[in-house]
Symmetry: C2
Subunit: 283 residues, 2 copies
């Protein structure tokens, strides 16, 4: 199977319309029809049920859609990583590490310092990204290694090592009545009048329905808390980043958050292995 055929099929399967898919691909509709027919012939499988009015996926077609997307991602990742390896002037490609902007700066700084001191260390670029974006970057080959936070981020398809586990705190406006408490429970903070928990976007970019403001990153979130429009439950380590107009109170029964370092499981990069070993030794 050629990637061209796969890209054509994915386009049609997503649009469920040959004309629009052809337009998206920048080719005419007839060659697209033929390419899909040929793919079906070679696979010995009907991928699409088509009438002159509608196109629908067969069972085999929907399998090929998910599997094909994964395969195309892998091909694109291969291409990107190769390009990056070639671009690096030293011949020793640098590493790209993806992490949430809200992650522990202390852990990250310690890790980068310790790794830089290793013999054979290469330059590390850090990408600060929004929630759950690291997985995509790793899959797409835009990053070599990432810091993820379970249970929020999915570690599906990666190798991981646990680095640290911490409890969570609720972040409140400094003057809030609960801010003086030594600790609280989840029940104390769900449904606080005027301070709803915010809504994070789903992987598809849409927001779940419900009360609470929509946020895209941690800075927005803290801004909203400072404005008295929301409260937030975050890992303890965020305390180091809080301004004095915010207060943090431990939430005893919130789920523990584990920071893990993750990398594509087929990675054979010496640099990734060194960085991971350094990270483990720090703990």
């Amino acid at each position: 199977m050629e990637t061209r055929e796969l890209r054509y099929f994915v386009a049609v399967a997503e649009e469920l319309h040959f004309g629009r898919a052809a337009q998206r691909l920048g080719i005419a509709q007839p060659p697209l029809s033929r390419a899909i027919q040929q793919l079906e012939r070679r696979l010995g499988a009907a991928l699409l049920d088509r009438t002159s009015r509608t196109v629908t996926l067969t069972e085999a077609g929907s399998v090929l859609l998910t599997e094909g997307r994964a395969a195309l991602d892998a091909v694109d990742a291969a291409e990107r990583r190769t390009r990056r390896a070639a671009l690096s002037p030293t011949g020793r490609p640098g590493l790209v590490l993806a992490t949430k902007a809200s992650a522990s700066r202390e852990l990250l700084a310690k890790l980068l310092d310790a790794y830089a001191a290793e013999p054979g260390a290469v330059p590390v670029d850090v990408i600060l990204c929004g929630p759950a974006e690291q997985e995509r970057l790793l899959h797409e080959g835009r990053a070599d290694v990432a810091l993820l936070h379970r249970p929020f981020d999915s570690t599906a398809g990666f190798d991981t090592e646990e680095l640290s586990t911490e409890g969570q705190v609720v972040v409140l406006p400094a003057g809030h009545p609960l801010a003086v408490r030594a600790h609280v429970h989840m029940a104390d903070i769900t449904g606080l009048p005027g301070l709803p928990l915010p809504r994070w976007p789903s992987p598809d970019g849409t927001y779940p329905p419900g009360p609470g403001p929509q946020v895209r990153d941690h800075a927005q979130l803290l801004q909203l808390v400072a404005l008295g429009r929301a409260c937030a439950v975050s890992p303890e380590s965020c305390r180091a980043q809080l301004h004095s107009d915010l207060a943090a109170v431990p939430v005893l029964d919130a789920p523990k958050v584990t920071t893990v370092i993750a990398w594509p499981s087929h990675s054979r990069s010496r640099a990734v292995a060194d960085l991971v070993r350094t990270a483990i030794r720090l703990q």
Copy 2:
């Protein structure tokens, strides 16, 4: 990047010889040279250093070799799973489950029975394979789900759920002096005169050097133990499969073995999800 180019590159990178690679690919050498040049031009990266006597990989080339292999595996897996989905007569593709021949029959039987009783269950084919073969089958799309045994098998790149944890026993000929003990320690059984631990093949098919017979599967192993040529450390559950001429004694300080159910992390198959849910509920 087309898969054809990728296959060509992988062939050359593995052979480090254009002539042999062309032969392996079933094409002539000049088109192969041209294809690689074109790939290098498009990537903007030198992949191979060539003199008229030797071919070596550049840094970028070795990145593309590992990443490209992974990508080709993904493409092949997509093709195979699609074919399988189409072949199944019901339109509801059956599942293929890969497990070691030596795995617990009890767990497997319970799982298959419980899943078959689920509404919407599909037929499950079971592949019994040798040690560490399940990972390959899953990656190649020949299996949809597998039972793996940590720490022996690598779960890299898969989603997993733990099913059970058990201790290990040493399997001995029935008449052996240690066979009457209630339990032993690892120190008791390393270097037993005449009963060495066997050697398993590495992933590349070769055997590590050392004493002890070479074995390929569990049946061979038990045969050798019965013949008094080896002893073996195995998960407890293998006791159910032991003939009376063999004895099993718990090894107190052997590492615990965890059976996990594993599936490709991008799997969106309803059947896989059902089977996994059933497996978790059994525990």
